[in-house]
């Protein structure tokens, strides 16, 4: 009997795509476009984007991990990287590659947030536009999402090595039937 295409690994991959994809898209969007979101005219959009990025840079700097140049680099690239990665993971394109990248970022977040929690740093998580303190709940949430991301990426790599159940030819012991010659 053919195995179901929805095995445990594929179920986890789907869960990962459906949960982590939109979360990453929203996280990136909120960092770049919230709370200041005037989009017109152009100089308003520039000012809104700049102040939002400046806010995010301030939150990154609060973790006391990076140099000023590093803080600026992360602040200017991470929001848009999150949006793109989240979208690519959501649609499942090249999941091995982009899922692995997302998992790496998620593990990084989890480590940094856990470090801040253990050091009793009274700072904002910086995950979304709304201020969120770093408490045990946030640490556990990030750890859970990191675990899901790692499983999703791992299973994507494992499943990619096997043929898709729908495309795998049925294997039987009998020789294929040959129509009788007329």
């Amino acid at each position: 009997m053919q195995s179901s295409p929805l095995n445990f690994r594929r179920a986890v991959m789907w869960l990962g795509r459906l949960i982590l994809g939109p979360i990453f898209i929203y996280a990136g969007y909120s960092k770049a476009f919230l709370p200041n979101s005037h989009f017109w005219p152009w100089f308003f959009f520039k000012f809104s984007l700049s102040t939002n990025i400046a806010n995010f840079a301030f939150q990154v700097d609060a973790f006391k991990l990076l140099s000023p140049a590093g803080v600026q680099f992360v602040a200017h690239t991470l929001p848009f990287t999150e949006i793109v990665l989240g979208f690519l993971v959501l649609i499942g394109w090249r999941l091995r590659i982009f899922g692995t990248m997302l998992a790496a970022i998620m593990v990084g977040f989890s480590v940094v947030v856990t470090r801040a929690y253990l050091l009793h740093m009274n700072i904002n998580c910086g995950c979304f536009a709304t201020p969120q303190p770093i408490d045990l709940q946030k640490v556990l949430e990030d750890a859970g999402m990191a675990l899901l991301a790692v499983l999703m990426a791992s299973f994507a790599i494992i499943e990619a090595r096997k043929p898709h159940p729908w495309s795998a030819p049925a294997e039987t012991g009998a020789a294929p039937a040959v129509p009788a010659a007329k």
């Binding site: 994809g21 939109p22 898209i25 929203y26 969007y29 476009f33 919230l34 709370p35 200041n36 979101s37 005037h38 989009f39 017109w40 100089f43 308003f44 520039k46 000012f47 809104s48 700049s50 102040t51 939002n52 400046a54 806010n55 301030f58 609060a62 949006i83 979208f87 959501l90 649609i91 499942g92 394109w93 709304t130 201020p131």
Partner: protein
């Protein structure tokens, strides 16, 4: 259309939906803006002791701030001096300081009281500067009085202490908080409300001087 393409299209629609939703929900509705003020007179409850610059300036900036907030310190240190020299003192901007002490900061209310009292005797700028410059110290020690005393003369300090002790300045702080909560729905500090060209533009968070300068110049051109 194959499965991948369909998922890509759905994802694209989702992202486009997010972006278009933000275009409809402009920043000013995230923090509710009042009816467009045309002049300073239209800005609610301005304490003249907390206003700096010309009252006829084309741009009014209300800054909701908490003295114990690190972001407020960053905004003050990166923009205040240049803002004062290039825009407030030249009559382009009327700057209003609004006290918005956050509940999670243990000493910010006391700092606001001392700042407000100093404003009553015309020493707002000096006390603001000494409070922000020494934020880490008085945040840890709680010694707001000692910090403010570094910027004022003994006679001035006596007046300030009397004002703080009498509670005379508390009503001003409460009024600022009410304006922040009810009029602008301020949810974080610093929040800057720009009034220009008959419109109101709230902006939350820090901003660099270069970006602020460009924005102010554009607002001035737009008048």
């Amino acid at each position: 259309m194959n499965r991948r393409g369909m998922v890509a299209a759905i994802g694209g629609l989702f992202v486009a939906g997010l972006v278009s939703m933000s275009c409809l929900v402009s920043g000013s509705s995230l923090i509710a803006a009042p009816a467009s003020p045309q002049t300073l007179a239209s800005v609610a409850d301005v304490d003249p002791h907390e206003g700096l610059g010309s009252k006829n300036a084309p741009i009014v900036m209300e800054v909701f701030s908490d003295f114990q907030c690190p972001a407020c310190k960053s905004l003050y240190e990166s923009t205040n001096r240049q803002l004062m020299d290039n825009y407030v003192n030249t009559g382009k901007v009327y700057l209003i300081h609004r006290d918005f002490p956050l509940p999670m900061h243990a000493h910010s209310k006391v700092a606001a009281q001392y700042s407000r009292a100093a404003a009553q005797i015309g020493r707002l700028e000096a006390v603001q500067e000494v409070l922000f410059q020494n934020q880490e110290k008085w945040e840890a020690s709680g010694d707001v009085d000692g910090t403010v005393a570094k910027a004022l003369s003994p006679a001035e300090m006596t007046k300030v202490r009397a004002l703080v002790k009498s509670g005379a300045v508390d009503a001003f702080i409460t009024k600022d908080q009410a304006i922040g909560n009810n009029t602008y729905r301020v949810s974080q500090t610093p929040t800057t409300i720009f009034h220009a060209n008959g419109q109101t533009f709230p902006y939350a968070g820090v901003m660099s001087w270069d970006i602020l300068k460009q924005f102010l110049d554009q607002l001035l051109v737009g008048k």
